[in-house]
């Protein structure tokens, strides 16, 4: 069972960079843990800290005007590797939603498998969100998963999510629970496919 997701109201962190790849989200040298926890400390490591391990003031996660459970990012977020560590790191850091105008496929899957909701919005709406939170970091965003609606101020946009994944998130189900129930059928299939 995963954490259940219904509605989230939170301020957001704006990261207006495109093509953010999994190596930026969590550099490979931090993938050596054998558990799922603790990756948040190294989230965006090389953007967050300089070579002497001091926080870089210019990076948005170090900018204390911004906080919240929502990360707003540029187009094609999560490209690169299939490592789920990227989703774990974002979740472990405290994010529950990523908003972008485009997501890489495997990342989207991995996020959804870890109760992290990727929300794809139009380029225009993404720009509006960036503008609003940058002009007032206290602006909050509302995510209504049931009605598939993301709102900021007076504007809102519908977002798509696969019906099955939506049910899983709302109820905290895992794919694996569904597959485990299919095991007798799979066994038959396996024997026929030698």
């Amino acid at each position: 069972m995963k954490e259940k997701f219904t509605t989230l109201i939170s301020t957001a962190v704006p990261l207006s960079i495109e093509n953010i790849d999994t190596d930026q989200i969590i550099p490979a040298r931090f993938l050596k843990a054998t558990t799922r926890e603790g990756f948040g400390n190294n989230l965006f490591r090389d953007w967050r800290y300089d070579a002497a391990e001091n926080p870089k003031a210019s990076f948005v996660l170090n900018d204390n005007r911004y906080s919240g459970k929502i990360l707003v990012a540029g187009k094609n977020f999560g490209c690169g590797s299939s490592r789920e560590h990227a989703a774990w790191a974002l979740y472990d850091y405290g994010f529950r939603v990523i908003i972008s105008s485009f997501f890489a496929d495997i990342f989207k899957n991995n996020a959804l498998n870890n109760a992290l909701l990727p929300i794809q919005v139009s380029d225009a709406f993404l720009l509006e969100i960036f503008n609003k939170i940058e002009s007032d970091p206290n602006t909050s965003i509302t995510i209504d998963l049931e009605n598939q609606k993301v709102s900021i101020g007076h504007s809102s946009e519908h977002f798509d999510i696969n019906a099955y994944k939506k049910t899983c998130l709302i109820n905290g189900y895992d794919d694996i629970d569904y597959l485990l129930d299919l095991r007798p059928e799979i066994k038959k299939f396996d024997l026929l496919h030698k």
């Binding site: 190596d23 040298r29 050596k32 090389d46 890489a104 496929d105 099955y164 694996i176 299919l182």
Partner: protein
């Protein structure tokens, strides 16, 4: 009459255990590969649920991502890497999975050993917790990377839940010019389609150019499908495929094999089958390629200038583009030829097979590397390493000042000690030029093994055609 299907659809449909409206398909997986980085949490999941592996015969393991490429017989020095490899060892033992550990004659990069051992076969579904699983598609199967939650699903049920992707055909016809390799073909395609241009699709590569390629070259192409966002890429099997596979360790043997071949010959897209998208290229337009930026879509012909912001299609790209050039220490509008490099990495699941090493050896035979350049040649597997030594390639490399190391992912992702230092330039045969991929602040130029070898000799980005006999 049954509906005409693409090769992808045929294989997919033959593996659906359960299909429900509005629900992802439960897709049966024939072959599962695991390695030390993306598997430990999956095994933990099984332990927490108190279940075993569904069918141990369908999973194979190897240690590749963070293994050292020197002194592999000694214990791994770096504690966390050692712990990860030891965890893999313990998990494989506890759950009964075959492991090709360090020191085993079959050890190597997971996407190199699968095909090499004949574990990778046409018509299969293949997954691994690694995005370059797409490599295996060169044999006419559906192969794609998965996350650790899905690794757990496969271990527990031999299935993954997946939505069927859209299909794209990339057709390339004509003959390749001098000095142009499979790596140049795929870098060219990605430059044309962009780093996200194939997201949501599964690609089939076809056309006379593809048909003329060796299995090694086809693997290089399928390998980088993911770099344009595709789930994977496949190529219909043909005589080249069957000849490569005949006699491989885990391939069917003798008459069984020939019977299988008869089935595999049917693995083709039907006439009249529809793809969601078709893209065509002419091989004559492809030249030796190189990337200049920090995603694999930022590639140009090695003789071209680096674009400047004026040439970008979308205004929104400015910031990322400039950030990328700044990271690389390059000027928009300038030429990339002649740019001095510091490191050369010939390795990774894209280009570390025998064919690659032979090409490099041919190019550098009797020559010496530029003084200031460090060259790492990291074979894709123990078998490749052994074969290279048997053919005397190690001697050729040594005479040129190159170092032939032991197999692993190495500087492809810099998880072991093979890291490119900050600010240094590396011309690399791997598949990703992301910021910090080869080490914090490292700068990567992706290119073919020939272009990398040429740069090793001259010490700068070089058009390999200038070094080739006419």
């Amino acid at each position: 009459m049954t509906k005409a299907k693409t090769l992808f659809e045929k294989i997919w449909d033959a593996h659906v255990v359960k299909r429900q409206e509005g629900h992802p398909d439960a897709l049966f997986i024939d072959r599962h590969f695991i390695h030390e980085v993306t598997s430990p949490q999956a095994f933990d999941g099984l332990r927490k649920r108190g279940i075993g592996v569904f069918n141990t015969a369908r999973t194979s393991a190897t240690a590749d991502h963070n293994v050292p490429t020197k002194d592999q017989h000694l214990p791994i020095k770096e504690a966390l890497s050692r712990h990860q490899v030891e965890t893999l060892r313990k998990n494989c033992e506890a759950f009964g999975i075959e492991l090709y550990d360090l020191g085993h004659p079959f050890q190597g990069i997971v996407h190199i050993i699968g095909p090499e051992l004949g574990l990778t076969q046409p018509g299969m579904t293949i997954v691994c917790g690694d995005s370059h699983t797409s490599t295996h598609g060169a044999f006419g199967n559906i192969a794609f990377g998965i996350g650790t939650s899905e690794v757990e699903q496969v271990l527990a049920t031999q299935c993954v839940l997946q939505h069927k992707p859209k299909t794209m055909k990339i057709e390339i016809n004509g003959s390749l010019g001098k000095g142009v390799l499979a790596k140049d073909i795929i870098l060219y395609i990605i430059a044309k389609l962009s780093a996200s241009g194939a997201t949501g699709y599964f690609i089939e590569y076809a056309g006379s150019t593809i048909e003329s390629l060796s299995m090694e070259a086809r693997m290089t192409i399928c390998n980088m499908s993911i770099e344009m966002g595709a789930r994977g890429g496949l190529i219909a099997p043909d005589e080249t495929t069957f000849n490569y596979m005949r006699g491989r360790k885990f391939a069917p043997q003798g008459e069984d094999f020939e019977r299988k071949v008869e089935d595999w010959r049917k693995l083709k897209t039907d006439d009249g089958a529809a793809y969601d998208l078709i893209v065509k290229f002419d091989a004559a337009d492809i030249a030796p390629m190189i990337t200049y930026g920090t995603n694999p879509g930022m590639g140009i012909k090695i003789t071209d200038r680096i674009p400047n912001t004026r040439e970008l299609k979308e205004i929104g790209e400015y910031a990322s583009f400039n950030k990328s050039l700044e990271y690389m220490g390059l000027e928009g509008g300038s030429s990339i030829l002649g740019k001095a490099i510091d490191y050369v990495f010939i390795g990774s699941c894209t280009n570390a097979r025998m064919e690659d090493l032979r090409l490099v050896a041919d190019m550098v035979k009797g020559k010496k590397k530029a003084e200031h350049v460090e060259v790492w040649i990291v074979p894709g597997s123990k078998q490749v390493e052994e074969q290279a030594r048997k053919e005397g390639l190690d001697k050729i490399f040594e005479a040129a000042g190159f170092e032939l190391r032991s197999p692993g992912c190495s500087a492809c992702l810099g998880m072991n000690e093979d890291k490119v230092p900050a600010g240094k330039y590396c011309i690399s045969t791997s598949n990703r030029n992301f910021e910090g991929r080869q080490g914090p602040k490292s700068r990567t130029f992706l290119a073919s093994p020939l272009s990398a070898a040429a740069a090793a000799i001259t010490g700068k980005v070089t058009d390999v055609r200038d070094l080739m006999d006419t």
